[in-house]
């Protein structure tokens, strides 16, 4: 029995995500990622159910597991009640746990997700925070966003927000004691440990890749993972 498979089984999402797959391709037919990446969720399911240690290890280090957009369209349709999207979530968790995520271009992007989304959650209590979404990094947000950027507070004010204010309302300042509770939850439940692992393995990888690594987003490694695309992801 594969050790990695046993690890995956510890994740309830994996237990929910795959019972037995019949390779019918219903998931792939409806998968948004399979349309635009060289990706096949059917094969993901088949690979994990092989319980082959080497194959699963390769999967955990592969680009493949990072293509899914977690829209969960596959769950609606599977005739066996499986959900490749949930399998993917379990694989991604394990890949980060073991540090395998840094072996792929797409996997390395987890540092971005950790520092940006993770950072916003712990700093502001929101998953997204407009001040970090500038048109310098998100040009497709367009001229209207440029205009908002020039007037963050005033536009929010116009639309009934309570930007950085006390009490209730849109984009209010979430009280420090509430944020402390969230941070404590992260510590108790393994969220902080996950973050630390992502940092540690990314730092090692940056050294191996000879890219400058530092805190924040203005460093070579971070900018590399954010924008680099080897353009082979949708080639057979």
């Amino acid at each position: 029995m594969s050790q990695l498979y046993n690890k995956l089984l510890e994740d309830v999402r994996f237990q929910e995500g795959i019972k037995a797959c019949i390779n019918c391709g219903t998931c792939t037919a409806i998968c948004a990622a399979a349309e635009f990446y060289n990706y096949d969720p059917r094969i993901i399911a088949d690979t994990v159910q092989s319980r082959n240690e080497e194959k699963i290890e390769n999967l955990l280090k592969s680009e493949t597991i990072w293509y899914c957009g977690e829209c969960m369209s596959c769950k609606t349709r599977c005739p066996r009640g499986n959900a490749p999207g949930l399998i993917i979530m379990a694989l991604r968790a394990l890949s980060q746990e073991l540090g395998y995520f840094v072996e792929s271009e797409k996997g390395r992007q987890q540092l971005f997700m950790k520092r940006v989304v993770g950072g916003w959650i712990l700093t502001y209590g929101y998953c997204l925070y407009l001040e970090g979404i500038g048109t310098n990094m998100y040009a497709e947000q367009g001229p209207i966003w440029d205009w908002r950027q020039k007037n963050w507070g005033k536009v929010l004010d116009r639309l009934g927000a309570n930007y950085k204010g006390e009490g209730n309302g849109i984009l209010r300042k979430i009280p420090e004691e509430a944020l402390d509770e969230i941070r404590k939850i992260f510590e108790v439940t393994g969220g902080t440990a996950r973050f630390e692992k992502i940092e540690k393995f990314s730092k090692e990888k940056a050294e191996a890749m000879n890219l400058k690594f530092d805190d924040g987003i203005d460093n070579e490694y971070f900018q590399h993972i954010y924008s680099h695309n080897n353009n082979t992801h949708n080639i057979e």
Binding site: R13, A32, A33, E35, W66, G69, E70, C71, M72, S73, T76, A93, Q96, K106, Q109, Q110, M113, V116, V117, I121, Y126, C127, L128, Y129, M137, E140, G142, P143, I144, W145, D146, W147, K150, N151, K154, V155, L156, D157, R158, L159, G160, A161, E166, N168, I170, L171, I174, E177, A178, E181, I182, I185, V188, T189, G190, G191, R194, F195, I198, N229
Partner: protein, 356 residues
């Protein structure tokens, strides 16, 4: 297409939506991108419908984007969710109403997981106790904010100042609905109308005078995909999804797109701009884009709220052609003003897509 077939399916998926006393949790995406929508939602619920809808200053993100971006572990996400339940319980509420579809999906998934794995619920209760000392009750009713507007759509229709009708021709406007993936794809029975032919937005469109347009890629994801949009290197996937939808809906010449997920309207709005810049193609009439509205904006619009109170000015695709078609009055000079009526300057115009 036989609408009776859809009606039969809609009957199968009737969901229980509480009538009053809601605990409201905000959406991260909505607050950043469509603040006017949440303001409008609360205004409708409280002022038009007289409902008790409570907000707690200490509630936070559910961590949804972090969870589906796979940096936030399952246990962490569940415990944060448990904390929201605790705030609700402490405030004396039982009916949870998330503004966000990803949150709604997450709450549904958590409750389903706990139902199948009671030991997981016990573990999360222990985590929450340890981290915050809080206890909670499981919500009695869980409904997305769009479920509420759906539930009260007829009341809104009764108070409506406008119908979704072309004032020149008298014909109903053609509306494309786009449902957030996590509304019912994971748990079809938790969504009004199920997963394949959701009725939550279609019901609003019908009762407010419009015509629902079904097109082949109706069920396709907008392409957010969490990490797929947020990381620039992956955005080619994200835009390709929306692009596919636009190409598929184009022949039907829709007057607008209606959405119930916080992220989708932003993508369907912004990607029209980006596609125009990248490929020179626009999808609306006369070089404009197709206006993309949130259900709160649409409800406010038919109720006759000022378009600039709704926040239509923060859309990249101009909504004025739609307002004109319905015959809704607005003051173009006030579009880009602040609360005190002072101009904040005018955004630059895109180079391809026309804007008002």
């Amino acid at each position: 297409m036989k609408v009776e077939g859809k009606q039969a399916i809609w009957k199968e998926y009737q969901k229980d939506i509480a009538g009053d006393k809601y605990f409201y949790v905000r959406s991260c995406v909505r607050q950043n991108f469509f603040p006017g929508s949440e303001t409008t939602f609360l205004r409708i619920m409280r002022e038009e419908l007289g409902k008790d809808i409570y907000e707690h200053p200490c509630h936070t993100t559910c961590t949804g984007i972090g969870y589906h971006g796979d940096v936030v572990p399952l246990d962490t996400m569940m415990t944060v969710v448990a904390r929201q339940f605790a705030l609700m319980t402490e405030a004396g509420y039982q009916n949870l109403v998330p503004s966000c579809i990803t949150s709604f999906g997450i709450y549904t998934e958590v409750l389903d997981t706990w139902h199948h794995f009671p030991e997981v619920e016990a573990k999360v209760r222990e985590y929450l106790r340890k981290a915050t000392g809080r206890e909670f009750k499981i919500p009695q009713n869980l409904a997305h904010a769009s479920d509420l507007i759906y539930k009260f759509r007829k009341e809104i229709a009764q108070n409506a100042k406008f119908k979704l009708v072309d004032k020149e021709t008298g014909k109903p406007l053609k509306v494309v609905d786009h449902i957030g993936c996590h509304y019912s794809k994971m748990f079809p029975e938790k969504g009004v109308g199920g997963a394949e032919y959701p009725y939550v937005l279609a019901g609003m469109i019908e009762d407010w005078g419009g015509e629902v347009i079904d097109y082949p890629e109706r069920r396709h994801c907008c392409g957010f995909g969490f990490r797929q949009y947020l990381v620039q290197a992956n955005r080619g996937y994200s835009v390709a999804c929306s692009h596919k939808k636009f190409e598929s809906m184009e022949p039907y010449k829709p007057d607008m797109i209606l959405t119930n997920c916080p992220g989708c309207p932003m993508f369907l709005d912004k990607w029209q701009y980006a596609i125009a810049e990248m490929e020179g193609k626009t999808y609306g009439k006369d070089g404009y884009g197709i206006p993309v509205l949130t259900y709160e904006e649409l409800a406010g619009m038919v109720l006759g709220y000022d378009p600039w109170d709704l926040g239509l000015q923060v859309h990249q695709v101009s909504c004025e052609p739609l307002l004109d078609r319905i015959g809704i009055k607005y003051d173009p000079l006030k579009k880009y003003n602040d609360k005190n009526g002072v101009s904040l300057g005018v955004p630059e115009k895109p180079s391809v897509m026309k804007v008002s």
